[in-house]
């Protein structure tokens, strides 16, 4: 049974919802229950699910790339639950007013995870679209979760409006695909599409619609406001998971459908990547709020991620998968420390990180490693990931893009170092001498993921795994 991991997630979502209403003090059991569900789904996926196969008449297909994307989403999900736990159970020094109860939160979070996992396996325009909506609509809710915070409500509203517009654009593109071929099956589309102006329009609209999810410039406008307003764990989740969903969708369309038909999409991807990473980097330099700062950092990282789509070589996909894995773990380490600091002090400005290294040396170290990994400093995994992506771009003969990306990495180092400078170089502010306490859950999350992150950079076999798993299947696609 290929669908077991998804079904486990959905059943867990329903169980959490029921458990939340059982008794008033069941609140503390909900996060462990959700984490157990995600872990069970992970085990089912890794040990009991084959890497290839199909069911429901080819509408639900498992292949190595889908398998790896599902793994990444489960990792992102379990880390997000671990980071949300303190906030929802009220184990905060600085209380957040108006947090609704936890059962619905976990239920909605698990639904969006299920949506993303179905997205990996869908092989039909309609099921792709429905899975993408199952991913996105719960995220609208989660963004507006803090009832008494005006910023959260505003972020939710903006996200709904822009998300609806993006969905509309994408649906228009999907309808063009259907109109051109009379079929919604991706494999049928692949063989029956012929080059025509309408196909170009469909591809352009699709990139626009997905660009919103991936926060590609010029479709990024919603990201800073939404990231700033959303509760911190959800910001973290949005910055990794919603990008992953966009990448999966783009992968389906680019590799499975349009692979042979758009010889020029390399140039378009290169231009989008250039605009995205340059804009994200330049604007991130000026940010004062750490959430907005991470939003622009996430925008520029999306620019690196889509470099995996360059050229027709199959090497791009494992490089992209590996960088997504690295990015998820590094970004979530950084966000976990931001959450820790916000939980204890309620602070969100970058200059308020002054002297954090003296108040909690270990967590500052974790955050520094995370930021350096995002900037791409060897031997951290960010460097390895970027190396593979840049070599994909160079093999596709986009040497200028490699130059732009390398310069951008250097620029990004400047603003990541700004945070590190606040933490390590600047003296403590008045009245901040008290040591900070960290909850056991967050401490475990941060240390485990920081160690995993360093291991991914130092040990070479993570990339080997992804590469050997996916490359044969990808070559079979005719790449």
């Amino acid at each position: 049974m290929l669908m077991i991991p998804e079904l486990i997630i959905l059943v867990t979502a329903l169980l959490v919802l029921m458990a939340g209403t059982m008794s008033p003090n069941s609140g503390k059991a909900l996060a462990p229950l959700s984490m157990f569900g995600i872990a069970a789904s992970f085990v089912a996926l890794v040990f009991f699910s084959p890497q290839t196969g199909e069911m429901l008449g080819g509408r639900f297909v498992m292949d190595p790339v889908a398998w790896w994307f599902k793994i990444l989403f489960l990792v992102a999900g379990i880390l997000t639950v671990a980071m949300s736990l303190d906030m929802l159970d009220g184990r905060l020094t600085k209380q957040v007013k108006g947090m609704a109860s936890g059962a619905e939160y976990y239920m909605v979070l698990l639904s969006t995870m299920a949506g993303m996992m179905y997205l990996c396996s869908a092989r039909d325009l309609i099921s792709l679209y429905v899975s993408l909506e199952l991913t996105t609509i719960p995220l609208f809710l989660l963004t507006a979760w803090v009832r008494d915070d005006v910023r959260s409500g505003e972020a939710g509203l903006k996200y709904v409006i822009i998300g609806a517009m993006a969905s509309g654009i994408m649906l228009y593109s999907l309808s063009l695909f259907y109109g051109l071929t009379g079929s919604t099956d991706l494999d049928v589309l692949r063989v029956s599409l012929t080059s025509s102006p309408a196909l170009l329009a469909a591809a352009a609209l699709l990139v626009g619609g997905i660009g919103f999810k991936l926060t590609l410039v010029p479709f990024h406008m919603w990201a800073p406001d939404v990231y700033e307003g959303a509760p911190l764990p959800i910001t973290a989740y949005l910055s990794v998971a919603s990008k992953g969903a966009g990448l999966v969708f783009l992968f389906h369309i680019f590799y499975r459908v349009l692979g042979g038909f758009l010889p020029d999409w390399g140039a378009m991807v290169a231009i989008l990547a250039t605009a995205t990473m340059t804009f994200g980097n330049v604007v991130a330099i000026w940010q004062k709020n750490i959430k907005r700062f991470m939003a622009f950092s996430a925008i520029s990282q999306a620019g690196y991620l889509i470099m995996g789509f360059l050229g027709k070589s199959a090497e791009g996909v494992p490089a992209m998968l590996f960088y997504l894995l690295v990015y998820i773990v590094s970004n979530l380490v950084v966000f976990a420390v931001i959450i820790f600091y916000a939980n204890e002090t309620g602070r969100e400005q970058i200059e308020e990180y002054k002297g954090l290294a003296r108040r909690h040396p270990m967590l500052s170290l974790a955050m520094m490693i995370g930021l350096f990994s995002l900037a791409g400093i060897p031997p951290l995994p960010g460097f390895v990931g970027k190396f593979f992506l840049f070599s994909v771009a160079s093999r596709a003969e986009f040497h200028w893009l490699v130059l732009v990306a390398a310069v951008n990495s250097t620029v990004s180092l400047y603003y990541y170092l700004r945070v590190v400078k606040e933490m390590y170089v600047d003296p403590l502010a008045e009245g901040d001498e008290k040591k900070l306490r960290v909850t056991p859950v967050l401490a475990t999350t941060i240390s485990v993921s920081a160690i995993a992150m360093v291991a991914m950079g130092v040990l070479p076999f993570f990339y080997e795994w992804i590469h050997t798993d996916t490359i044969v299947w990808l070559r079979g696609l005719g790449l």
């Binding site: 329903l14 919802l17 029921m18 209403t21």
Partner: protein
């Protein structure tokens, strides 16, 4: 030549569109330009089934209405699924029975949640 243009469905549709627009525009235009305009306070007030209007329509009303309406929609759709299922129950076999039970179980979780959250508690 003219027949081949008229054979085209799009042209027929276009003619229909234009003539409908022209006809409607003509009637509204005639009544706007030729009809007498006599206004009074009673005439300008909104019509409420013959009752005297008490308040503005834009007023807050209990959120319970929404919740009950949403619940109604869900169970309405459930019935729409149940009827064809019940009619063809004999042909569907065990697989049909199990899938419908799964569907009902999911709906039951929703109903249980709604009852526990006192949505149906009208107070």
């Amino acid at each position: 030549m003219i027949e081949s243009i008229l054979d085209n469905n799009l042209i027929t549709f276009l003619i229909l569109l234009v003539s409908v627009g022209a006809l409607v525009g003509l009637f509204i235009g005639l009544s706007v330009f030729l009809g007498p305009k006599r206004t009074s306070k009673v005439k300008d007030s909104p019509f409420e089934c013959g009752w005297i209007v008490t308040t503005d329509a834009w007023r807050p009303f209990p959120i319970k209405y929404y919740l009950v309406a949403i619940l109604f929609i869900i169970f309405d759709v459930e019935v729409a699924f149940l009827y064809p299922w019940a009619v063809s129950f004999g042909n569907l076999g065990m697989a049909g029975f199990i899938s419908m039970m799964v569907f009902l179980a999911i709906l039951f979780v929703g109903l249980y949640y709604a009852i526990k959250k006192r949505v149906l508690d009208w107070r």
